[in-house]
Symmetry: C2
Subunit: 423 residues, 2 copies
């Protein structure tokens, strides 16, 4: 890669400082980390006016560049969003500390005692876009799990993120932890992202991208270190013949329409042909009444004249909008075949009163999260009880599904003996 | 990458067949998989004469090419090694099936019930060198963990591996499982390795290299999919001032000399200065009496005239031979600093009667395996009680330490509800 030399030096300095900080953090006590998190929250509350005025600078630049309203919305901070950031840090402080937990313990006939113990991963690079609150969330989750963080936010939120980082570093100070435990890349050159994806000569252990599909795709394509991410959430709800119609309508509506822009929102509804006579019309009506566009195969179109025609391009599409694809299938087998072909191994749900059909679906669908009689929008670390998440992963290594503090750790084996040698 | 078109087509066909087989295997019962493993073992025993005659062809080629005796030894099969392969498959059959195990279960206040359940990873590519027995070990471990395997052995062991693969595929047949569950790349072009490292268009989920440092280094540098591996095992034994001298000598001797060519053999001995008066001479004498060359710093040399001078190049060296580096350090802190600087995060041991010093070492040394009062040569899946291992991993993602059948699985979340929607 062709990189500006001063950027390379800058990033190497950041990487080396993060590695040193990570060794400190791995040995920090829970009290120290929680003290830092609570001090960060307090500092953010006290600095609300400063943060808002820095955010105003970012917003002014964004408006001058005529960016889209949805972009401006993600960039915008207000009193409530600042309070949510502070409260989020306090919630992370209240979570159990995963570091040092014993995951498994056993002994061998020769007297050796084995323990598998959680330890931090090391240095985590977070690459994100315009949401300034990712700065606090990601920094807090990395700290709690004992990892040093290198944050590289979008240039559009630079002033806001800098003001937030200053609060986080004051919190680290207050607890006697190194400020370099949470660093921000102080420069918007895209070079710096490339260097992070190469791992900064072994200084970065893991990359977490937070943003749209093009950001995640670039990270997945170029990263030379492990990445926790999902490219897209093409989530399905399969309505089995043995579904209760009312429950099916309620779950489909929530899975699609509660929030259409989140990765756990449903994009395709599959209706069992054997139950179509009772389920198809009510499900379509529920969605259309709620303002959702329905694109269906011939049978779906035949059930309601308001349904538009779906094409092959609809099945692998993540709309992230009030649009849904719908198809009639021959039972759970064809539903699972459809999901295997078009899904993204993120989150898929079945609605049925038949326990054995549900068990087959939960066993056989190869997605990170599979649900029975519940909405796909439960794909969220908070809803899982993880307290907070840095994102959702669809890869098969290490973390799958919501990535909370526990998933930001790895483990080591501690072996205790009394002089054993191997025969 | 510039690749011969027919090789690309060949590998795509193998990849697609493996992906289809993986879907079958994920749903295979434990009985079916164990039946296949036992049938494989029986077939290998019955085919011993065939396997030996194919091995003789490989050996003839190797001798004609004047390859090193150590290489010829790794390539050589005999009755005992064939029996060990068969017995190994039966041992894998006897292990508990990790697939379908519930790792964690919990419920949320809204009534949703969560289960984290083990599932296979999918398709695993194994790239190895001359040892033909890797064919049976790796094939068996992948099958037990529900994964399809694509095996690419060295060209030098091609005939031996082909004869073994034929036995494995007969075992799959006997249990009604697809032969494509364990495939061998039928061609020695290096192209094929490159294509595997690229992941065969998403058909390969994980690569496991089995072989020397240059093979592992190439795989780590070029792989675009996750890799379970260790580049080298620069393992340390630290002899604390509070060590029992006799135990220290016994552990150091075993850690270095039991087998010098394995990754868990010790390469550097660190002696606490405060205990050097009693420990240094006996430890050196024990090693030299056993035929080990000792290379030491000035203090080590002063203790015994037979010690050669160590240079800076010795500390990061994996000898894999009857040579050891030795250094006197200022207590556990300097020992841990040395390990952090020169170690490979593989396996490190402390010998001490002081519990709190041992606890610090086990907590603070950032290696996959840390031992107290036991030999580093216990770094082995069998010794951990994992039954069998496909290798040892030093990465921080997913698998660390010995990689057995459990480490060849991932998990999914199964969520059971009764109509819950997200507010």
């Amino acid at each position: 890669m062709n990189v500006n030399i001063s950027n390379r030096e800058l990033m190497q300095t950041i990487g080396a400082a993060a590695r040193t900080a990570a060794r400190h953090l791995a040995l920090a006590t829970s009290d120290q980390k929680n003290q830092a998190l609570n001090a960060m929250a307090a500092k953010i509350r006290r600095s609300a006016a400063d943060i808002l005025s820095e955010n105003a600078r970012d917003l002014e630049n964004a408006r001058a560049r005529d960016l889209k309203p949805s972009f401006i919305d993600r960039l915008t901070l207000n009193e409530a969003r600042i309070e949510a950031m502070a409260a989020g840090l306090e919630e992370i402080a209240a979570l159990p500390d995963p570091v040092g937990q014993t995951i498994a313990e056993w002994a061998r006939p020769n007297g050796l005692r084995f323990a598998r113990v959680r330890v931090p991963i090391g240095v985590i690079g977070i690459i994100y876009e315009s949401r300034p609150n990712v700065t606090a969330d990601a920094g807090g989750l990395c700290l709690k799990s004992g990892n040093a963080a290198i944050l590289r936010g979008g240039s559009d939120s630079f002033h806001s993120s800098s003001a937030i980082i200053a609060c986080l570093q004051r919190g680290l100070d207050a607890a006697g932890l190194p400020r370099t435990a949470i660093q921000m890349v102080p420069n918007a050159d895209r070079d710096c992202v490339g260097l992070m994806l190469e791992g900064l000569d072994g200084a970065i252990d893991l990359i977490v991208p937070r943003g749209g599909k093009s950001l995640v795709a670039r990270v997945q394509a170029d990263a030379r270190v492990p990445v926790f991410s999902h490219l897209e959430g093409i989530c399905h709800v399969y309505v089995d013949k043995a579904a209760d119609t009312e429950m099916a309508c309620k779950i489909v509506l929530n899975a699609k329409m509660r929030r259409t822009g989140v990765c756990g929102s449903a994009e395709t509804i599959l209706i069992d042909r054997a139950g179509a006579a009772s389920h198809l019309k009510p499900v379509i009506r529920t969605l259309i009444d709620a303002g959702c566009e329905v694109r269906g195969d011939a049978e779906t179109q035949a059930a309601d004249p308001r349904v538009k025609a779906a094409t092959e391009a609809d099945w692998p599409t993540e709309y992230l909008d009030a649009i849904v694809a719908m198809r009639v299938v021959d039972g759970v087998d064809e539903a699972m075949a459809h999901i295997a072909r078009y899904g993204s191994q993120h989150t898929d749900a079945i609605v049925t009163a038949d326990q054995s059909t549900a068990d087959r679906f939960l066993k056989e669908v190869d997605s990170a999260i599979v649900l029975h009689n519940a909405s796909t929008q439960f794909a969220d670390g908070g809803e899982f009880g993880f307290g907070a998440e840095i994102g959702i992963a669809t890869g098969k290594m290490h973390a799958r599904g919501p990535v909370g503090v526990e998933q930001l750790t790895t483990f080591k084996y501690q072996v205790r003996g009394n002089g054993q040698t191997r025969p």
